[in-house]
Each structure stands twice: as C-alpha cells, then as structure tokens.
C-alpha cells in the first residue's frame, strides 16, 4: 500500500511532463490528417466544373470482346450501355459531337443482340449524331435478331417515314408498319398507321385489306375509322364496290361483315 501511495504522487507529477510528448505523438498525426482532408476537399470543391470529355473515345471492335468470354459478354455490353448513355448525355447538350456513339451502340448490340433498348435508343440518338443510316442498319439487325418484337419494325417504319427520302419512302415505311402490325403486343394504332401509309404510298389494295382487318379486330372507334377509310379507298360505283367488298368477305365474321355492308352501302340505299 505504501508503495502505491508513494508511487501515486510520482505518477501525477510525471503526467504534466509526459503530456506534451503524448500530445505530439497522438494529436499531431490527427491534426495532419485533418489538414490533409481539408486540403483534399477544398481542392475538389474549388475545381472548375468538368467540361465535356473528348468526343472521340476508344471503343474496341466487337470482335475483341466476342473472342473474350461468352459468360461475361452481356456484362460488358451492359457496361458499354451505361457508358453510351453517359456519353450521349455529356455531349448532346454540350459540344454536340457524338463521334463514338455509333461504335458504342454497335458494340452493345453485337455483344447482346437480344437487348432491345439500345436499338430503340439508337433510332433517335444516332439521328442526333447525324447517322440515320447507321441507326437504320442497327434497327434492321435488331429486327432480324428479334423477329417477334413489334417495337423494332415499328421504329424502322417511323425512322423511314420521318427521315427517309425518295418516292418509295411511304411504301418502305408502310412495309415496316405492316410487319409491326402482325406482331403480338403491338398497340391498336399500328395497323391503322400501316394502312394509312399503304394507301398514301399507292398500294390501295394492300391498304384496303389492312383496313378490313382493322375493322374485324378493332373496337368501336377503330371500326369507325376503318369504315371511313374503306369508304374513300373502295370504288365509288355501286357494282364495283359490291365486287370489291365481296372479295373481302373471308376476313370477317358474319356479324361484322353485315355491319360493314351497312356502313359502306348506306348512301346507295
């Protein structure tokens, strides 16, 4: 006990002398760390906002990754997909240069041919990149790889209708809309669009068949629109019209056919 009590004052008297050393050893590193942290944060905050990066980004040929590992092909495609979105966002509102976007989207769709979104994205993003032909080629490739998807032929039709040139523009657009109209899941307006464009492109017979199908399958509004379209497309002479309508009979159920007759021959009564 005596030893303890005699050691106590020695310990407490040594404390003030040891404290600066201890502070130096423990506090100085903490202080240095805090100063470095503050410097790092201050530097980061004071950096000017980054301008858009180089529009020419290195994109390896799809073959490079195709030769890599099949197991990780889709993961690589997904990484490039995220990269393509960032690249598009960075440049479309900045320097308007999208030099590497076609290569990026080609790479993504080659590595993951059943990934629909990049094809659809390409149809407007590559227009911004002034590369409508690349967009068309990509969409065609997508359509071949995913023949049961209605969105791809629909987008192809839309691309041709909006940006296509030449006399056959409407016919080509109508062809793609017709392909889309035959696929499951397509909205009800797609066949109407196809029929409209077929008529506009001069393919009256195909347009009549398309409208007849819409009349058979559609709801009340679709039936009204189809009847109006058929009214203008079918021959106006009663006899010729009767012959043309008779040829359409296999498309309809008896009830719908009777409705159509009533709608088309109302003014001849």
């Amino acid at each position: 006990m005596g030893g303890h009590s005699s050691a106590q004052p020695r310990h407490s008297s040594a404390q003030p002398r040891r404290l600066p050393g201890l502070m130096r050893r423990r506090l100085l590193p903490i202080l240095a760390a805090l100063i470095c942290l503050a410097a790092v944060i201050a530097f980061q905050i004071s950096r000017p906002a980054t301008s858009a990066g180089n529009p020419r980004v290195f994109v390896p040929a799809p073959r490079f990754y195709e030769e890599f590992s099949p197991s990780y092909r889709t993961s690589i495609a997904d990484l490039y997909w995220l990269g393509a979105i960032q690249y598009y966002g960075e440049h479309v509102n900045g320097d308007h240069r999208l030099d590497s976007l076609p290569a990026m989207l080609t790479l993504v769709t080659t590595l993951s041919p059943h990934f629909i979104e990049p094809y659809l994205f390409s149809s407007f993003a590559l227009i911004d990149a002034h590369q409508p032909l690349v967009a068309y080629t990509l969409l065609q490739r997508g359509q071949r790889a995913n023949p049961r998807n209605w969105q791809l032929p629909f987008q192809l039709g839309f691309l041709v209708y909006m940006y296509g040139e030449g006399k056959t523009k409407d016919q080509v657009a109508a062809h793609w809309f017709t392909v889309a109209a035959d696929l499951p899941g397509r909205p009800t307006f797609v066949p109407r669009l196809a029929a409209d464009l077929l008529a506009k492109g001069g393919e009256t017979h195909a347009a009549i068949i398309m409208w007849a199908q819409i009349y058979q399958q559609g709801d009340k509004i679709a039936m009204q629109k189809a009847a109006a379209a058929l009214n203008s497309l079918l021959p106006q002479a009663k006899q010729a019209r009767m012959q043309a309508v008779a040829a359409l009979k296999p498309i309809f159920s008896p009830a719908r056919f009777n409705d159509l007759i009533a709608a088309l021959f109302q003014r001849y009564l």
Binding site: P70, S71, R73, T74, S75, D78, W81, L82, I85, E117
Partner: protein, 253 residues
C-alpha cells in the same frame, strides 16, 4: 464419420472467419450498389441488377473460394493440428476430401445467401421473379467447387499466396478455355496441336455451365447439355482432389 467430423470442423472454422463475413457484407453491398447503376440505365433496372449482381456473386464467391482453399491445408500444418489428426486413424485422402467438403458447405452457405438476396432484390426491382438467378448461382457454385479443388491441389505443392494467384488464374483460364480449343485448329505443327489439346484438357471448361447471359434474355439454357457439363466438372473436382491427396500423402511431417 471421421470425414464428417473434419468436414464439420472445417465448416465451423471457415464460417467463423472474420474475412469471410467482410467479403459477404461487401458482396451484398455490391448487389445493392447495382441498384444505383440501374438508376442510370434508361429503364433497364432489372437487367442491370441481374447482370452485375451475378458478376458480384461470381467474383466474391471466387475470392472466398480461392483464399480460403489456399490456406486450408497450410493452416493445419502451421498450427500443427495435422499431427493430432493423423495420430487418429485418418487417411490423407480422407483428410483432403473432408477439408474440401467443409469448404464446399461454407461456400454453399455464402452463395445461397448472396443468390437468394439477389433474387429478392431483383424481384423488388423488376416486379417479377426470375428463378434463373437461383439456377445461375447454383452453376456458379459448381464452377467454384472446381476452383476450390484445384486450389487445394496447388496449395499442396506451393505456398498459400502462389496457390491463391494460380487459383484465380485458373478461373480466368477456365472462362477462356475455348481459345485453347480454337488453337488446336490453327497451324500445321502436330506438336503445337498436341500441346493445345493438352492445355484444353487440363483447363476446366467453366464457360460451359455459365448461364449468366440467359438470365438477361440472351438465349435459353440447354439443360441436358449443362447437366452433362456439370458431371464433367464434378469429375474434374474429384480428379483434382485425388491428385491433391496423392501429393499430400507423399509429404512427411
């Protein structure tokens, strides 16, 4: 029974390992982080979650498999517990197989945890369940079992670090083994062709059972073929373990 006791002990030992816990937590964080990636993917949340989630399962599973397997035998030798084990009627083959089974059980728990977590996380994001995620996790487990067996074999002939590095290298090589097959068709040298064939046969074809692309809609798995390749991988594992047992039986303590 003796194999069961060693396997159970290995399982308890590895499952208690703090490193394992850290890796599993990190893997789960990575899967959650893929939610962030999903948010910048133009409506492709489900696809990103599945794809990057399975890559995370595969990568962290590999880390656990290789680093734990490489130290499995060395630890027993370093701690000298191997003397106690071999003082009992336990053969070297039984020892190696028991160690493998213990780690296989640990790996099953780790991958099941990550796979089920990913399955439910994806269900929450995609609004529909994708059971293929669980199948893909199961097949990743099979790939990792081969790597565990090979790493145990390597650890019997080299140091822990070298065995770990070689284990990871074999995993990468296993993903690329089709190149070795392609090499067999190139050139006219019979020797080169022969060497290519040997390399192709030695490297486990891990690619064959990988269905990650099918999970995100790239094709559909050919189950009979996958079942056949699974049998091949299991046979490969047994062969590697038998080799490891043979090498280990020649060691003197």
């Amino acid at each position: 029974m003796r194999v069961y006791a060693i396997a159970l002990n290995t399982f308890k030992e590895t499952i208690r390992d703090r490193i394992l816990g850290v890796i599993v937590v990190f893997a789960l964080l990575m899967i959650v982080a893929s939610l962030w990636l999903a948010s910048i993917s133009l409506g492709q949340q489900g696809r990103m979650m599945k794809d990057f989630g399975l890559v995370a399962v595969s990568f962290f599973g590999l880390v656990v498999a290789v680093f734990v397997a490489a130290s499995l035998v060395h630890k027993e030798v370093d701690k000298r517990t191997v003397y106690i084990i071999f003082s009992k009627p336990v053969g070297r083959v039984q020892f190696i197989f028991a160690k493998f089974l213990g780690l296989a059980a640990t790996l099953a728990c780790v991958l099941a945890g990550m796979g089920v977590f990913l399955f439910f996380a994806d269900w929450a994001v995609s609004k529909s369940p994708t059971p293929l995620i669980l199948a893909a996790t199961g097949l990743i487990y099979l790939e990792l079992l081969v790597i565990v067996a090979l790493t145990i074999l390597l650890s019997t002939v080299s140091s822990t670090i070298l065995a770990s590095v070689l284990g990871i290298t074999l995993f990468v090589a296993g993903q690329l083994s089709h190149h070795a097959l392609a090499l067999t068709n190139l050139g006219h040298s019979a020797i080169l062709k022969g060497i290519s064939w040997i390399v192709y046969v030695i490297i486990p074809n891990l690619n064959a059972v990988d269905i990650k692309p099918a999970v995100v809609g790239e094709g559909s798995p050919d189950w009979p073929l996958i079942a056949a390749w699974s049998g091949y991988l299991l046979a490969f594992s047994v062969l590697a373990l038998l080799l490891a047992s043979w090498v280990f039986s020649r060691k003197e303590f």
